[in-house]
Amino acid sequence: MAEPRVIIVGAGPAGVRAAETLVAAGLRPTVVDEGRRDGGQIYRRQPEGFARSSAELYGTEAARAEALHATFDDLRPKIDYRPGHLAWNVADGHLHVVHDGSAEALPFDALIVASGATDRLMPVKGWQHAGVYSLGAAQIALKSQGCAIGRRVVFLGTGPLMQLVAAQYRKAGAQVVALLDTSRLWNQIRALPKLVSRPDVLAKGVGLAASHLLAGTMVRRGVTPVEIFGDADGGVSGVSVRLASGRDLRLACDAVALGYHLRPETQLADLARCDFAFDAATRQFWPVIDEDGRSSVPGIYLAGDGVRTQGADGAEIAGKLAALAVLTDRGRSAPTEQISRLRQQRRAMERFRAGIAEAFPWPHHLAAGLADDTVVCRCEGITAGELRSVVHDKGADEMNRAKALSRVGMGRCQGRYCGHAAAEVVAAATQLSPAVVGRLRGQAPVKPLAIRTRRAAP
């Protein structure tokens, strides 16, 4: 049998472990990665010439990061590695990539998409001001360049990433003005039965939360974000929230890190026409996968945070499972014992993922309360009021209709950052479930594509 052509998108934990598994089976996969170096976001490697230690960069996860990097360094001669390549489209058995203005169509028999996640965002009045970053962006600035997003930073949102990035900022010397968390302690307590499925991670999380208190950092739970203050010239100047007590709190700051846990980057799965289904617990549409990561489309496999937010350890397992599924489906022998062990580990990861989603819930209820002049789609400058008006005046009760009539999600990010919130605004305005309101259909290119792009010479 001819060697199957396998392409992996992403060189984070899922992609690297998938590549390792395929190489171990004697294949030479192609690894396409948008980053200039491997590691993905979580284990992002600093640019060449930067010399911070792993302990500084990855904290408690330093050993895992180093192991992943070492694995990848060993794999380099055994794979076709394409760093700095954007996978901008997938069609007819080809992955379309672009690198420095040069486009190629790479044929595949199997495609493993390990495209990672970005922040899940809920708008707040004023979030378009300069100095408001997503939590992920705030962390990348620190990890990649050793930069903080500001001197006095407010962390607003919820989720484990907020706890982690705030701790990293404090350690890096930034003033963490406050952690303003929309979740409540009882959310976390109620999620404990699920969270104990990974006691070590739970302990780290509790430790992180405790570290903020020990450092004397202001932590407020159960807040309702009200406004980020600022202006066009000076950017962010402050934040106000309503506390659980009903009292208003206003804090001065020069930057805000905002985020409500993560959402998978699913555009490639969408362009490959994989089926999606609504997850009621997290109120979002996900690609449908089986326990090994097979999508509804033969030959398309989905792994890591790009399909389920199970974190880096979960992604390593998912990457291996997806690669083993490719081997099985291509008629190669795959170690059944290893597969069942990985599946079992993955179930624990999945249970923990569900626990995290409960502990730090997506605050969908905030969408209904957004003032009409709150910008929802920052690329196009579409406000909640404009979005509501296409619902009420033009009968748009479905997301793609609301997009067509309002321009929400039609800008540079193509709704990757505002899509979930926009769906909640439409759901609240129509009194329908977001399951009915639907999701923005993914359209190529996955990221903006330069018109100077030309086909690479064959």
Partner: protein, 379 residues
């Protein structure tokens, strides 16, 4: 079973043709049921380029295009909504002497139809449109053509029709269309029944499935337009630009909207399926467009596209639509298969069809579009 829903006219298909027809039928006092499988203006009407172009059309279509252009010019007061129509001018450029000779001939031939085209060449062309690339030889400028927003136009007509009293049924799939006891009977998937004396089929790429049931099949095929749009930049590219050429891959067109994005189309057609109701943009077509649009305006190379899209369009072998009365069934009318150039015509088609259905004749000639021209075609 519940009572049938009775109107004077049933319009099947809520694209721009059907929605505009419903609006103008109401203006003429007819009661109308407009039935759409999904949402108004979602397929070809909502996904096309948005050209409001008359130049370059089949000459005998110009009276209809002129009537439509007149409506575009007063659309806002007519339907009370803005579909972003902009009489920006339209420039078709050529790369060689042969095509330049053709646009000159066309300009002469179109003059009696009221089209005042200006043929501009050499330095004058570059003075006026300094962004054009070195390969461009000449241009045919239509000062009164322009563009509008396809996402908005058909839905706006649908709402205007509703305000005028039309009964608009969206998300209503039709399972049976027949004529019995002298009236038309249309049955929806959920069992609702509609009855009317007159029936207009404006079902785009699905029109043939209905005309076939009345013994009038047509050789309809489907293609998808290959569209793309850039990020917004300051408004600078006033006319709609297109290339006049006999080579399909050179046939690109683009326009800048007032808020800044440049909409791009052409160079190829893509796959579209009437069965799955889906069409796609082939990645290689997007790259082909990049090569071709930068021949017309080299500075476009500095921009990015942020989205591509397509939709299901219907084409006939002679590249001319089906429009007019049935040749076989009294009270039955057609307006579908607009071969990728229906958007500009939409308002005019609606107006003319309403005239035809309510008076039995039209003041604008539509004979070339008769379905009878395919009567001898094998079924």
């Amino acid at each position: 079973m519940s009572e049938p829903f009775r109107t004077d006219v049933i319009v099947v298909g809520g694209g721009i043709m059907g929605a505009a027809a419903a609006f103008f039928l109401r203006r003429r006092g007819k009661s109308v049921a407009l039935i759409e499988r999904a949402l108004i203006g979602q397929q070809a009407s909502g996904t096309n380029f948005g050209n409001v172009r008359r130049q370059g059309r089949f000459l005998r279509q110009l009276p209809l295009a002129n009537r439509s252009r007149d409506i575009w010019g007063r659309l806002n007061e007519l339907i009370g909504e803005d579909a972003e129509f902009l009489a920006s001018g339209h420039l078709r450029v050529t790369y060689d002497d042969e095509m330049t000779a053709r646009i000159e001939t066309y300009a002469r031939d179109a003059l009696p139809y009221g089209l005042d085209l200006q043929i501009i060449g050499g330095n004058r062309l570059r003075e006026r449109f300094p962004f054009l690339g070195p390969e461009v030889r000449a241009g045919s400028y239509a000062p009164h053509d322009g563009h509008a927003n396809p996402r908005l136009a058909a839905p706006a007509f649908g709402r205007a029709a509703r305000r005028e009293g039309a009964s608009v049924f969206e998300r209503t799939e039709i399972v049976a269309v027949e004529r019995d006891a002298g009236t038309f009977r249309v049955e929806a998937a959920d069992g609702r029944v509609f009855r009317a004396e007159q029936l207009m089929i404006a079902a785009g790429a699905w029109g043939n499935r209905l005309s076939e049931q009345f013994g009038e099949p047509v050789p309809l095929v489907t293609h998808g337009p290959q569209m793309a749009v850039t990020e917004p930049i300051p408004y600078a590219l006033e006319p709609v630009l297109g290339v006049s050429t006999t080579k399909l891959e050179e046939t690109v067109y683009f326009r800048q909207v007032k808020r800044g994005n440049i909409v791009i189309g052409g160079a190829a057609r893509g796959p579209a399926s009437a069965d799955t109701q889906r069409a796609s943009v082939k990645p290689e077509n997007t790259l082909l467009q990049f090569t071709q649009i930068t021949r017309v305006v080299p500075a476009l190379a500095r921009l990015n596209i942020i989205r591509v899209w397509s939709g299901v369009e219907s084409y006939l072998p002679d590249d001319i639509p089906i429009m007019g009365p049935s040749a076989k069934v009294p009270g039955l009318y057609y307006a579908f298969g607009f071969c990728g150039h229906g958007f500009q015509l939409g308002p005019g088609v609606g107006d003319v069809m309403a005239e035809l259905i309510s008076t039995g004749q039209t003041t604008t000639p539509i004979e070339p579009f008769a379905i009878a021209r395919f009567a001898s075609a094998p079924a």
